[in-house]
Amino acid sequence: MLEIKDLKVAYNGMGVLNGVDLSLAKGEVLAVIGESGAGKTTLGLSIMGLLDGCSGKILLDGRNILTLGEEEHRKIRGKDMAMVFQNVEDALDPVYKISDQIEEAILVHEGDAAAQKVIDLLRSVGLPAEKGASHPHELSGGEKQRVLIAMALANDPQVLILDEPTASLDAITKAKMIKLLKEVARKKIVLVATHDIPTATKLTDRMAVLYAGRIVEMGQTADLVEIPRHPYTRGLLRSSLNMTTTKDLQGIPGRMVHGIKGCPFHLRCTQRIGRCAHEVPVLEDVGGRQIACHRGGIVPLLEVNDLKRRFGSVRAVDGVSFTLYEGETLALVGESGSGKTTLAKMVIGLIEPDGGEVRLEGDAVGRRTKEFYERVQMIYQNPKESISHRMNVLEAVEEPLVVQNAGCGKLERAKVVLEDVELPGDGPFLKKYPHQLSGGEAQRVAIARALILGPKLLVADEPTSALDASVQAKILKLLLNLQERRGLTMLFITHDIALARKVSDRMAVMLDGKIIEEGPTNEVITSPVHRYTRRLIETAPDLSNELASF
């Protein structure tokens, strides 16, 4: 049993770990994930007792190892706990044979017994006994990693700390290593510090997300990876390369800064509130997950409950409900006439619903006020039509500010958003009229005017279907970048499931005014439940020359 209580570590007064609480039972494998500099390695080193200046408690079977003297520490190290360091290249001494280096780690056995133990260890990590005679430079990266693991296992420690165990290994070696580590980890307490989320997912049962020396989210690995609830966890997942996520990679804006007041993540967070800058959120249980966030994790921005609308005898939208979380993209996919656009227009307030309700950040939305439109904006299928042909670029971009009586500084704000959408913010471009713009430029202008009020939610109704392929790609990239930078939440309406797959975190398939299937995009794509969804996927554009069968 390893317990860590309020562990704080500072280097030269700079807090690297700022109060970490963890509890690990025997047989448990925990991943600590986070960016470089989050404090993952420091956590490992402090458990190993290799760091000075730690405060708090690290209890191994009830014994606080932080208060032990160096001599007692040494006894524990290697015997009760061992660490596999990152940087395989540096961890082995180039002038000694492998077998000697492993033998050095064996404390209790002597002579032939030790030599036999070395061979056993080499075998247990999948290396032939002959390799023991090699020098480090004769081994591949994967083999060196195996040697290091063998060294860590030398005394059968109960706590094993793995620091980036698979970094710099190629995919196949990595897969073998993961298999080995999984076997090794049995009946031990294992802490895996890594930024490699796919590896951590395969290796561990529980996952803790470390940010600037604090745990911001902790929970069962499978859950946490499927539905991240802390904005930072989601950011990490979005920037992690893997085969499951279908959406394009997205980064996290800004960079990690240590020692700031309030929530460590608040400067990079897109859903921060005033409180985040002053108070540190504590790690609390929120629905089977521990989250440190003043807002209780990623907030539901838009909730739609049982929304209905008829046109004559046609039920255009027939009882639709969904929740859209902050910074997330939900794609509404369906054929023409499935009610997608009607639904979008009811959300934005261009069509009155017959029944049901729309909630924005928890408040029911009735009559749409100017304040509502500061938070929710829409972009349309045909950008040139959505801009009055009597307005030039500048007038069009400033129009929302004029409507909202924004007062002075309009020109500056217009320039800023124009640059945000990668258009020139001055010169003759501002004087152009819609018919003088290309389709892509016009859609950028339309996006700029939707962004100028700083909305949280962007309803995008087929924003690229009127554009040709290369322009479409650029506009989608732009929208993803804007989402990353501004934490824009998007309700993305499209008939193109291939497009939805690339841009959305979650997908809802609409048919005849109802949502027939909803879930994380990758799940809907890889294992569709409804027949109609399967058909959509079969008929979606791909580059094979086989015809879809139906």
Partner: protein, 286 residues
């Protein structure tokens, strides 16, 4: 598609003629004090019914006033009434027709029934009755004519607005939180431009004619100088030769103004109506 309406009007001979006539009459009315040494209300020292001469280009009338002077100042009345009614009734048409289309519902139905009611009323009789009772001055005439004139325009504006408000840029403006006034002023009216001008010309034409008619019937401020009134007075002396330089010039001036407005309006409508445009273009290519 953009149609340059100014080009449309000046490009046709009829339109050009109309504009020249209106321009000429307006110039004469504006520069009236420069073109005559007399005061239109004062009697001159010349005797009544004198024939045209160097001093009095169109002679004098029964009360020794200079007829040329009164003709010039009469143009001011006609144009002021025409312009005033055009502006006021178009304003009312846009306000009521536009808002009815934007708001819809009960508001729309209510105003459209009001429009039906006013159109059903024979306006000439109402004006004669009301004007007789109120003995109106020029401003009141403008108001009266406008109040009876706007409903026709309101119907047109409502129909146009109904189609314009479905345009996507209007939806976009609504999703910025735009009020009806913003939508009307920035999105609907600019696209109504040419229709509004055509409407105003129609209104002006009708107003000039109505004002002359009312004055002819004697229903107006006696101190007001008007072509209609000139004709009314001159008619009493129809047996004298004086009608040639008293009745006839006033009649011709009125007719010219109406023709000028009609021609301009006609050529503008040709530009507006795609079917008429097509005929014109195919005729031109033949």
């Amino acid at each position: 598609m953009h149609v340059d309406y100014w080009k449309e009007v000046t490009g046709s001979n009829l339109g050009k003629t109309g504009l020249i006539i209106i321009g000429l009459i307006t110039a004469l009315a504006v520069s009236a004090p420069l073109l005559t040494p007399y005061d239109p209300h004062e009697k001159t020292n010349t005797e009544a019914f004198s024939t045209p001469s160097k001093d009095h280009w169109l002679g004098t009338n029964d009360v020794r006033q200079d007829i040329w002077t009164r003709l010039l100042y009469g143009a001011r009345t006609s144009l002021a009434v025409g312009f005033g009614v055009a502006v006021l009734s178009t304003f009312l048409s846009v306000l009521i027709g536009g808002t009815a289309a934007i708001f819809g519902g009960a508001y729309d139905r209510l105003w459209m029934r009001v429009v039906d009611a006013i159109i059903a009323v024979p306006s000439v009789i109402v004006i004669i009755l009301v004007a007789t009772y109120l003995r109106p001055n020029a401003a009141l005439i403008i108001l009266l004519l406008s109040l009876l004139n706007w409903p026709g325009g309101a119907r047109i504006i409502r129909a146009q607005t109904l189609s314009l408000k479905e345009r996507m840029h209007v939806s976009a403006a609504r999703t910025f939180g735009a009020s009806w006034s913003h939508i009307l002023l920035r999105h609907i009216i600019p696209d109504l431009g040419p229709i509004l001008i055509a409407m105003m010309i129609q209104d002006a034409r009708r107003a000039v004619f109505m004002e002359a008619g009312l004055s002819f019937l004697g229903i107006s401020d006696p101190s007001m100088i008007s072509w209609g009134k000139m004709m009314q007075f001159a008619r009493a002396y129809i047996y004298l030769d004086v009608w040639m330089w008293w009745l006839l010039p006033a009649g011709v001036a009125l007719s010219l103004t109406l023709i000028g407005l009609s021609l301009t309006g006609f050529s503008l409508e040709t530009g507006l109506d795609p079917r008429l445009r097509e005929e014109k273009n195919s005729a031109g290519s033949r």
